[in-house]
Subunit: 476 residues, 2 copies
């Protein structure tokens, strides 16, 4: 079926202004934030912008009949090609379907359509004294639907876990167009429910390969009244993860613990000399939240405990001073890109997770790999749960550098698996890491494939993502 | 195949002392703590006691060949016939396979075999300053494997969630004998991992219908340093859930919030007059944990906030006084049974979950149903998340009372669903609530069936449980 014919069929389901078929419009949906997308042209055959579950259901029926791939998309802030038409097909742009349908304060939950932007949800919830704890770096851009599909998390996963903890129920359109409610029937507002198999959690993090999420029932929490932050400077890298463990063993669970290593400190100071971070092997930033008295107590404890291993620790609860302490961390992603005048920070191999006990070793090994492949790498991330963001910086115009970067990234991914970690702590698999799914999961990956085949026998839901590719490599 | 022949085959896999085939031994495995088990004789064809994954795998291969049902069992503390051979077959008693294989302090996780008893795990973890937060009432009996299979929770789910939040990975033997690792390969110790479909969470709460859990990797948390408790007495039932919401809206998330209604207060005072609870429409007990300063602050706040609606509030951090305040709650299950001299408390309809906003209405409706069916009911439970334990008390020798109790229980279950709740907040479905699975989940229940058929095409894994029965009712 040509683009024009497909467009005609789609316009039987959607009003014409919500069906995009021109070359220009389709090209706008051919990339996300990943490195891989720069080197491919994943232009979809059409794009639709649904505003109702009925439309999505009718779309899936058409796609099933015609065996056309369907690719759900939120804000496109992903770094895995997860929302791209790597095998052609129809991109379903859910970003404009962004109603917060109801905040049910008395039941501590919120009902939202997939396109709601994360920070807007939290802004709205703040008016009720509530919040949705996961806190991705892309908060001003990413959608809650994308967060559910990727099981996103971010800075506060140490204490608050990942998105899945908050998903009470979903409305999902299956590949054949059938609409189901998970987590209880349509009117369910229970906070606890162990009836039936846990379909909700199967769909969370399934990256659109099992169906399209069209409505989300989220548990929300009381907004903490107080917050504090400690910045600690370490002359030896080893002391940083050791200090994290000391804090845990003291009975304290901070809301977040971030690390900047030498590479990140240098990049930040080059980019904004006025931030003037002390030169050190590592800087840790602890965030604590809760009630005012409890936060003060934990701040004092952290300063004392971490002070035994750090060159210096500063504790602050004043918002302006906290913003100062956070300033380096807040610009690190941009700073990495300015490491060299012709450089660009690439999103590839950027999200490994390693056991806490091996963070130092992982950072040293990445430094070795950086030297081996002659590619600069800036390291930072969520040390509190072993999730490291590595930012390779290269000249995109140099095909030799691109090639070296790809080799580096492959080594970083293999290193994470070999160390008992994962290729991805929070960004997901998509089309850029599914070549490792077999290595990470062994026989369990084949069970994943069986479940996929059961729910999507025609393989039209976001094909070429997440699951191990047929016959080995599948990097599109 | 007769019992003797089956015994011979099983003794090729297990040493003879771990294969039970005598009538007496098999009868010991014919009941759990449910009401239903009293009226049936679910005697298995054989019982085996595995000590290795290889044994479980060989067992499943034999069971597949011979198409014999296999029923995993922990401590038998369940209330749903979940571990009983409702269609015959082999019961797999995992309770003696109870090694805590490793506490990996540096990675905040523990590796355990399924038979570890909950309180023993926490006793062991306490030595490392760690704990596994879910806190079921059956802590001194229930196994961690059973908790994972049922997604158990208990008193502290308000703040700490349910078991699933802590399960990082599982070793599972599938119905065909294949062994898989979920949550990453064998050596994975990552705390964050979004690679692949989330099989771990699909197996949590699957009540043994998809496979046998043989090893568990659990995330553990720093043990809080302080605890406090508030008891509040309400002359009007309505004020109790309203006070719970007030506390949430003040930004406080207690570790637990329990309710005793009039029926429970009366039962406790009859059973132990010296406890001498004030007569009231409701008593709430708030538990708060964290650091000493934070706990003190929250205690003061709770006393003030709840004091606006309560007749009296008492806050305590002294362990002896906390034990006093808790005393009524700690005996309520036993007290219910003593409501009348010839009475027994039955476990049926005992675990409904309703939206927080409808707790008062639910308790009043249950009182009406109690009158309608002329069956006494004692109500208590985890009001913080809307999970109410209703305890019908009847004379088990009266078939008329048994019949009335069954009618009452059916009404209670239907009430929970109609109110936007669930028939089960934490105890599970088993064979006693699967008749409601279609009502609770609609079309989603058919998707559950599809997944079950995919992983267990011969329907040998714990058949007759959790999933909607063929052709409607399936109460064995």
């Amino acid at each position: 079926m040509g683009h024009q014919d497909l467009g005609v069929e789609l316009k039987r389901i959607f009003p014409p202004e919500r069906v995009l078929t021109s070359e220009l419009e389709r090209r706008m949906y051919s990339y996300d934030s990943s490195f891989m997308a720069r080197f491919h042209s994943f232009v979809p055959d059409a794009v639709v912008l649904p505003r109702s579950t009925q439309e999505v259901s009718a779309l899936m029926k058409l796609a099933s009949q015609r065996r056309i791939p369907v690719i759900p998309r939120g804000a496109g802030s992903g770094e895995t090609c997860g929302c791209l038409a790597v095998r052609g097909g129809i991109v379903v742009d859910l970003s404009a379907w962004d109603a917060i349908e109801e905040v049910d304060v008395a039941n501590m939950q919120v009902f939202a359509r997939p396109g709601v932007v994360h920070y807007k949800l939290n802004e709205h919830l703040a008016g009720f004294g509530l919040f949705f704890p996961p806190d991705p770096g892309s908060t001003r851009m990413c959608t809650v639907g994308g967060m559910v599909a990727n099981n996103s998390s971010g800075l506060r996963a140490v204490k608050y876990g990942t998105t899945e903890q908050y998903v009470l129920g979903l409305e999902v359109v299956l590949p054949d167009g059938q609409v189901i409610q998970t987590g209880g029937s349509n009117n369910c507002r229970a906070l606890k429910n162990v009836s039936g198999l846990n379909l909700t959690k199967l769909f969370v993090g399934s990256e659109g390969v099992l169906g399209i999420i069209t409505r989300i029932r989220l548990r929300v929490w009381p907004r903490p009244k107080a917050r504090g932050m400690a910045m600690a400077v370490f002359s030896e890298l080893e002391q940083a993860p050791a200090a994290v463990l000391d804090v845990y063993q003291s009975g304290i669970l901070p809301s977040g613990i971030e690390i900047l290593d030498t590479s990140a400190i240098q990049a930040i100071n080059m980019y904004k000399p006025e931030i003037n971070l002390p030169s050190a092997e590592a800087i840790l930033i602890f965030e604590v939240d809760g009630n005012p008295a409890g936060v003060a107590w934990e701040g004092q404890q952290i300063a004392e405990i971490v002070g035994r291993r750090a060159v210096s620790v500063e504790w602050a609860t004043d918002p302006a001073r906290m913003a100062d302490l956070w300033r380096g961390r807040s610009v690190v992603a941009v700073a990495a890109a300015r490491l060299r005048p012709d450089g660009s920070r690439i999103f590839a191999g950027e999200d490994i997770s390693v056991p806490l006990s091996r963070v130092t070793e992982a950072l040293r090994r990445i430094k070795e790999l950086s030297r081996k492949h002659d590619v600069a790498v800036v390291n930072y991330g969520h040390i509190g749960d072993g999730n490291i963001h590595t930012a390779p910086v290269i000249n995109l115009d140099s095909s030799a550098e691109v090639q070296r970067a790809n080799a580096l990234v492959d080594d970083i991914h293999r290193l994470a698996i070999a160390m008992g970690g994962s290729t991805t702590g929070e960004h997901g698999v998509g089309a850029v890491r599914n070549q490792y799914t077999m290595d990470e999961h062994g026989e369990a990956a084949l069970v994943m494939k069986q479940l996929k085949e059961t729910l999507d026998p025609l393989n039209i839901m976001n094909p070429g993502k997440l699951l191990p590719p047929e016959g080995g490599k599948d990097r599109a």
